[in-house]
Symmetry: C2
Subunit: 225 residues, 2 copies
DNA sequence: TCGGGGCATTTTGTATACAAAATACGAAAC
DNA sequence: GTTTCGTATTTTGTATACAAAATGCCCCGA
């Protein structure tokens, strides 16, 4: 048989344990199930997850590199605390990169505008449940950048959005408030429809800045720096 | 003794093996000593480095996450090939983020301008040796962003510069050409001195774009996509 | 009552062990 | 001569073992 037929795609997907563990842990961190309280006990967590310490540590080292955990030599890992100073670093990077990605996606095809509008309606419908709303909001943003050819840029943005999601999830859970972006999304869509990239970029930045403006005072009040 | 006295700083720095291994490997990758040819043999490399496979794998997983290595499940690690398509993703992110960092450092203190000028003279003096020139160039850029308060942004930029350094190191070694930025740095300094941020940002982007314009055709000629 | 020092225990960081999958190799079939 | 199948070997992914460091605890002394 010709070699090319095999090169198409590895038929079965072998998923390393570390990836699964990573997914689980990141979910727990973002949802706040794994709190920044005390240090993580590796033996305990590994038995809870049903794996050995090796893939667990691999996953945690990865999450440390991405800033979700902190590692102190000799003292192990702990969930990174939510800090106003960190949020004030994350969000500007996020709007800068998302702006760059939108620029790289320009001009958006008309079909994309229809998809965005649909996604925004789904977001509007989900306003009641904060977690669902967050997921829908994220879908809208993903759609916005769907045409961006820069894969590395997109993956960096996804990572930053995981951070943002952690902050917003905690804020909504803790304060009961829901940050809603439906109107802002509409404005952004309108700017895109008019072909006004610069205006869309400004509104996009503003959209993130609103979230940060909610977070700042709340973080100031509840946590350390 | 009061607890506060200890909290100042852990007096001795405990460095995990994985960090040391990471440093060594990254150096070898950037300098091209570890080529993208074939897969990496863990047992072999671990004995060469004098550590066990555990910290070696930890280091390699980290470098994989950063994009310096690729990991294929069941088949281990290999140095990521130099690709034009990758360079065309990396550089735009780099100039976008460095621009954002410069904006966040604005306005630069007059002392910074003097330091930049000195650094640029050191770069000019080192034009002969490509590797030294690259290091000096990097020092100039680091100085440019020295006032940026966004630590996460700076660390992302450093990571991207490691990637850029790998590409430029390979280009210079392979083609014999040296990409020189002395004149462009002077122009950027002049714009800063005039207080013209937007002009400085444009020149900064152009500075990186020149490197990419050297790399593109060379990568097209020598490697795969 | 509070603080300090020494010992027991826990926990981490690294090394090693082991099973399963991937690769290499060779013989047999065509 | 080429290809295909089966087996031996290597290599990876994960589990476990072990040493050193960190933590907790208890007793003692002030």
């Amino acid at each position: 048989m010709s070699r090319a037929a095999y090169q198409v795609r590895p038929p079965i997907t072998r998923t390393p344990l570390r990836s699964e563990v990573r997914r689980l842990l990141l979910g727990e961190i973002v949802r706040g199930d794994l709190a920044p309280s005390e240090g993580i006990n590796e033996a305990e967590l590994s038995t809870r997850l049903g794996v050995s310490r090796t893939p667990l540590r691999e996953a945690m080292l990865g999450l440390t590199q991405e800033g979700f955990l902190t590692a102190t030599p000799g003292r192990g890992f702990s969930v990174r605390a939510l800090r106003r100073s960190d949020a004030e670093e994350i969000y500007p990077i996020l709007w800068t990169l998302e702006g760059a990605a939108l620029r790289a996606s320009w001009p958006l095809p008309p079909s994309r505008l229809r998809q965005l509008d649909q996604a925004n309606r789904r977001l509007e419908a989900a306003r009641a449940d904060a977690s669902v709303a967050l997921a829908r909001d994220r879908e809208w943003h993903a759609l916005l950048l769907a045409g961006c050819p820069n894969r590395m840029l997109l993956s960096m943005i996804e990572n930053l959005k995981d951070h943002a999601a952690r902050y917003e999830e905690a804020f909504m859970r803790n304060s009961g408030q829901v940050i809603t972006s439906v109107t802002q999304h509409r404005e952004i869509q309108a700017a895109i429809r008019r072909g006004d990239l610069e205006r869309a970029l400004g509104l996009l930045e503003k959209n993130w800045r609103v979230s940060l403006d909610f977070l700042g005072p709340w973080l100031e009040a509840t946590t350390s720096p």
